[in-house]
């Protein structure tokens, strides 16, 4: 389980955030001692840090810089209410992996966190589903040396369902995922794409593997 450390001094916000993350299957830790924040972080050694800029004692940007100066390459997402471009530019130049302003869309936040973990596991080249090998970057699915082409939309939908295999995927979360990937499709288009994906999976010999749960979303068996 990936360990995420929240560095945020607003108590309500950090407990809500912790709630969201632990519900999504992460191990969550909260930094409470800001006096020795750097030492604490090094001790906890998380897989990812969600870092606010306005925190007591050393501010987030300075903390990030001193972590990076010590060659600590823990991924960092800046979570801040600052709307100044200079803060974003500074954070990125100090080595932040992403920069998100408050208030944030929870789904998008989770997607961005997921992206960072995905980027870390660089080996990921193809996904597997039963006897299918899925190459998201090439847009193809291979079954017994036979190649099937998926469109960008279909591929994204399929990989998202696959990453949540066995769980119901909320239509809205799926939509956020697609929009976050620059595919601004509407409700009808999503339905159409799902049925096209179903048809292609049928061609590959998988009938009825995507189940529609009315009012809830989709589920990949």
């Amino acid at each position: 389980m990936n360990k995420i450390l929240i560095v945020e001094d607003d108590i309500t916000l950090r407990s809500e955030l912790s709630n969201l993350l632990s519900n999504s299957g992460y191990e969550v830790l909260i930094l409470t001692d800001f006096k020795n924040s750097k030492e604490e972080i090094v001790k906890i050694n998380p897989d990812l840090i969600l870092l606010d800029i306005n925190i007591p004692y050393l501010n987030g940007e300075a903390l990030l810089k001193s972590l990076r100066d010590d060659n600590k390459n823990i991924p960092v997402i800046m979570l801040t209410s600052s709307n100044k471009t200079i803060d974003e530019v500074l954070s990125i130049s100090y080595g932040a992996d992403d920069y998100i302003t408050k208030p944030y869309n929870p789904t998008i936040l989770l997607l961005r966190i997921n992206n960072i973990f995905k980027r870390m596991k660089k080996s990921f080249d193809y996904l597997e589903y039963d006897s299918l090998k899925i190459y998201p970057n090439k847009g193809i699915v291979v079954k017994d040396k036979e190649e099937f082409y998926l469109t960008k939309n279909e591929m994204l939908i399929f990989t998202y369902l696959l990453n949540n295999k066995g769980n119901i995927v909320n239509r809205d979360d799926l939509m956020s995922y697609l929009w976050n990937s620059d595919l601004y499709i509407n409700d009808n288009a999503l339905t159409v794409n799902i049925s096209r994906l179903r048809a292609k999976l049928y061609e590959m010999g998988y009938n009825d593997v995507i189940i529609t749960r009315k009012g809830e979303g989709y589920l990949l068996k």
């Binding site: 809500e16 969201l20 709307n83 974003e88 208030p103 956020s176 929009w179 601004y184 509407n186």
Partner: protein, 330 residues
């Protein structure tokens, strides 16, 4: 200062002098001096008088001429006193000191106001910073509740508008121009409006926006978000779309935002960017008349150009032009 006007101003001196000359002539005649001596004395006196007058004229003329030409050439007239050398005659010195005093006083007053405005801006920034914490908490708490989320988004948008209003009215330019990816900026706008766009069935199309633009990403995001919000607000009932298209030219990039909404009345067109102007569409709804004003103001600060074309009942097209040459933005 013309010689003739100077002399007209010195009319009283001339009159007194002429009376003096007449008295002098009568006096000299009474002394029974030879007429050649009388003429010499008179001419000599007249010459001396005019030398004094001309000397005075040129001394003043130099100062006042400088004063007036500098006044006319300066676009910031209050800087006049800084540009002048202290004159060497009494009236000029008095004027110089008065101007200096008035200027200092005005200066104090302005810097006082500036400080107050700056304080206010800082307070607003701080306040916005603070208010975002409960907003973020509420968004997380209500992440399953679409209705609440939409209301929260409205608060967020309104809060953001205050921030940019203050930034716009303030003389300090706290933006940062850098190369940014246009599609990332547009994605942020899309994600912010995703729920509204989907709920209202508006198609959101993006074309050729994989471009680099020299801008401040947050400011441009705010500007495009205002325009997209307007398109959402004034949509038509059926088959609505909003299309964002990037066009790359040799030394500029244009972003064209087209919708097929209600459009804008021709009579409203000239006043679109005016502060607190709510046109035909805005009346009766909750329009503040600030959105487009802020867009224009922020664009001007960033050195971008914004234009609107519209046909009532057909739709609206907003064109933002961003120069590729950073020198324009300095």
């Amino acid at each position: 200062m013309k010689l003739s006007t100077y002399l007209a101003d010195k009319f009283y001196a001339l009159v007194i002098f002429i009376i003096y000359i007449i008295i002098l002539i009568l006096f000299l005649i009474a002394l029974k001096l030879p007429s050649s001596i009388i003429i010499f004395i008179i001419i000599f006196t007249i010459v001396i008088f005019f030398i004094i007058l001309l000397f005075d004229y040129f001394r003043k003329r130099k100062f006042y001429l400088e004063l007036l030409t500098k006044l006319n050439s300066l676009d910031k007239k209050y800087l006049l006193i800084e540009m002048l050398l202290e004159p060497n005659f009494l009236e000029g010195k008095i004027l110089y000191n008065v101007l200096d005093e008035v200027n200092k006083n005005e200066h104090d007053l302005i810097s006082n106001l500036k400080n107050k405005q700056e304080d206010f801006k800082e307070y607003i920034e701080l306040w916005i910073h603070e208010v975002k914490l409960p907003l973020a908490s509420l968004t997380l708490m209500n992440r399953k509740d679409k209705k609440t989320l939409r209301e929260l988004k409205r608060i967020e948008d309104d809060v953001e508008q205050i921030l940019y209003y203050v930034r716009c009215e303030n003389a300090n330019n706290d933006y940062l121009i850098k190369e940014w990816d246009l599609d990332t900026i547009i994605k942020n706008v899309a994600l912010r409006n995703k729920d509204d766009l989907l709920a209202l069935g508006i198609d959101f199309k993006v074309d050729n926006c994989n471009l680099k633009v020299l801008t401040d990403s947050k400011w441009l995001e705010f500007i495009i978000n205002q325009i997209v919000s307007n398109s959402i607000k004034y949509k038509k009932d059926k088959n609505s779309f909003i299309k964002i298209e990037g066009v790359n030219y040799k030394n500029k990039v244009t972003i064209i935002i087209t919708d097929n909404g209600k459009g804008i009345k021709k009579s409203d067109m000239p006043k679109l960017f005016t502060k607190t102007f709510t046109g035909f569409n805005g009346r009766g709804s909750k329009a503040t008349g600030l959105g487009l004003y802020l867009c224009k103001c922020l664009c001007q600060k960033l050195g971008h150009n914004i234009e609107i074309e519209s046909k009532e009942g057909k739709g609206t097209k907003v064109i933002i032009t961003i120069s590729n040459q950073s020198i324009y933005n300095l």
